[in-house]
């Protein structure tokens, strides 16, 4: 099946107007040596056949509806209000292009302006862009911006930043002349002494995550201050839902704040698409990568919105652009705007409290199970690192839990072998009492 509307008669008429007798005459500019000899693909299907094929394909997947999930690690499953799907699936939101023709895109542009405002409020920063691909690339872009803004060549990144994010940064900066130094963690948080020792006036930026990869709350304010003393920029990678209760980056004078915001209204979807928040101080306005929507007026003095400061972007500056990005995650940006507007300050606070409560209840119950201990005696939000002391590996435990329909915490040995058999357990508000009971029972049996 395809989506072309042409009848044979229309094709005939069109060929006539073009002035050729067959379609093949349109291809004379293409040398025969490169013409497709074979085009081997499965045959097309009708809609009912597609549905059937995909149902069969999807069948082996165990979704978060069917299993009790305690997985986090940078991807958080949160409630999605019905209106988010309902509104965002309107064709007028889903199928427009990038809003370069402002007059034909006032809906999208106003929404982006609202999104930028909401992000500034959430992160307590001066200016936010229309979003980047995901949290990881946003952190990488922040690193690039800091290097260019300071003209310095060294980056300090905490070991407690998500390992995938650190890998993405390494990829982005490979081949450049900058050096990346990793600051170790001690007892679950960044070692401030080690950070202080590494800080010199050649440091462009310090990158830390809140809460960090172990779920622990980091001393962001002291770290920020230390960084500023040598004239470096402090970059914070944060978790949006936690900001209902936890101090936002603006409060500890972060220069750049980034976040993965897929959890604000979009499903985990096997890790993508994401929604990378990017916010900074007013003084760095012209260095921001990505799209910006601004408020202005039209010729009749009515309020109107338009993309602005586009001279930073690829379609104008080309090789001198602040980045190469020409996407924002428009559709997820919309969903997050609806989500944040609908929850409001009270809803966001309540959502954060529900996560805090659930996670602490579960962790306390798990600590009572012999052979399970909390790895770090530190405050946490909705994720914590647990260590197994009964001789079983995280993998073995998870295999057993799986039989009970439970996704146990993410084993951390692969990235942090010094922790022994430890796993990262996340509890969001989507976890039910019954699921927790089932988990405790299953763990006790082990």
């Amino acid at each position: 099946m395809d989506y072309t509307p042409h009848t044979d008669e229309q094709i005939r008429q069109m060929l006539e107007v073009i002035g050729v007798s067959s379609f093949d005459e349109l291809l004379t500019a293409i040398p025969s040596e490169v013409r497709c000899k074979s085009f081997e693909l499965p045959s097309g299907l009708t809609e009912p056949e597609v549905v059937q094929t995909c149902e069969t394909l999807a069948q082996p997947n165990v979704s978060l509806r069917e299993a009790a999930s305690f997985l986090g690690f940078g991807a958080y499953s949160h409630v999605i209000p019905t209106v988010v799907d309902n509104l965002s699936l309107r064709g007028e939101w889903l199928t427009p292009y990038t809003p370069y023709q402002a007059e034909a895109s006032q809906g999208t542009l106003q929404m982006i302006y609202e999104f930028q405002t909401l992000v500034c409020e959430l992160l307590q920063m001066d200016v936010a862009n229309a979003s980047l691909y995901d949290g990881a690339s946003a952190l990488a872009e922040a690193a690039v911006m800091a290097l260019r803004a300071t003209g310095r060549q060294r980056l300090l990144i905490s070991e407690a930043v998500h390992p995938h994010y650190r890998e993405v940064i390494a990829t982005y900066l490979s081949g450049s002349s900058c050096t990346i130094q990793q600051i170790p963690q001690v007892n679950g948080v960044t070692d401030l002494e080690a950070l202080n020792a590494a800080l010199r006036d050649d440091v462009a930026a310090v990158l830390m995550q809140q809460p960090n990869v172990f779920g622990c709350l980091e001393p962001m304010a002291p770290a920020s201050e230390l960084t500023h003393r040598v004239g470096g920029l402090f970059v914070a990678n944060v978790y949006p839902v936690s900001l209902g209760l936890i101090q936002p980056p603006g409060a500890y004078n972060a220069d750049i704040a980034v976040a993965e915001a897929r959890g604000l209204g979009s499903p985990v979807a096997y890790g993508g698409p994401g929604l990378g928040l990017f916010a900074t101080k007013q003084e760095f306005l012209r260095r921001i990568p990505g799209r910006l929507a601004g408020c202005s007026v039209d010729q009749s003095d009515r309020r109107g919105f338009t993309l602005t400061l586009q001279t930073r972007e690829q379609h104008i500056r080309r090789e001198h652009a602040t980045s190469n990005i020409c996407t924002n995650e428009g559709w997820l940006c919309l969903r997050a705007t609806i989500f944040m507007s609908f929850l409001g300050p009270a809803g966001l606070r309540r959502l954060a409290e529900l996560n805090l409560r659930r996670a602490h209840d579960v962790v306390e119950r798990l600590r009572q199970v012999p052979g399970v201990e909390l790895a770090f005696d530190r405050p946490y939000f909705n994720e914590a690192t647990l260590r197994y002391t009964n001789g079983k590996t995280s993998d073995a435990i998870n295999r057993q839990l799986l039989k009970a329909g439970i996704f146990g915490g993410v084993p951390l040995k692969r990235w942090f072998p010094s922790l022994g058999d430890a796993a990262l357990w996340c509890v969001t508000e989507t976890v039910t009492d019954q699921q927790v009971d089932r988990l405790v029972d299953a763990l006790k049996k082990l």
Partner: protein, 129 residues
């Protein structure tokens, strides 16, 4: 099309004016007209060493950004801070208040190699479309 007689010009549409020990630089009427409304100017910091032909400033309209090149070598003595708040000065008074920066020349003879007003006028004629 105004091309003041007492100034020197570059092929890249900058003008240069001798002002005591410094060379003041801006962009020509032709350039600002092509650009249309100037929205932002990025200026070099005072003290910066520059070589003739280096791109050392950027002028932006809504739709385009262009490099501005040092017409001579030397050190940037000062720049026109007024352009930060009022970039439209470049459109309104490109040879006067819309100046960009001043350079203390290290090789003053470079100024003589620049185009005269007649030379610049001829250049505009050949590239006219």
């Amino acid at each position: 099309m105004t091309i003041p007689e007492h100034l020197r010009y570059t092929k890249t549409h900058e003008w240069a004016r001798q002002d005591e020990g410094e060379i003041v630089v801006g962009i020509t009427a032709h350039a600002q007209e092509e650009l249309r409304d100037v929205v932002y100017v990025e200026l070099p910091a005072a003290g910066k060493t520059v070589k003739q032909g280096d791109p050392i400033a950027v002028v932006e309209s809504v739709k385009a950004a262009f490099d501005i090149y040092a017409p001579i070598s030397g050190t940037v003595a000062r720049n026109n801070a007024a352009l930060q708040k009022t970039p439209q000065l470049v459109n309104q008074d490109c040879y006067g208040n819309g100046w960009f920066f001043a350079i203390r020349p290290s090789q003053p003879e470079e100024l003589n190699a620049l185009l005269t007003a007649d030379g610049y006028a001829a250049l505009l004629k050949t590239t006219a479309h």
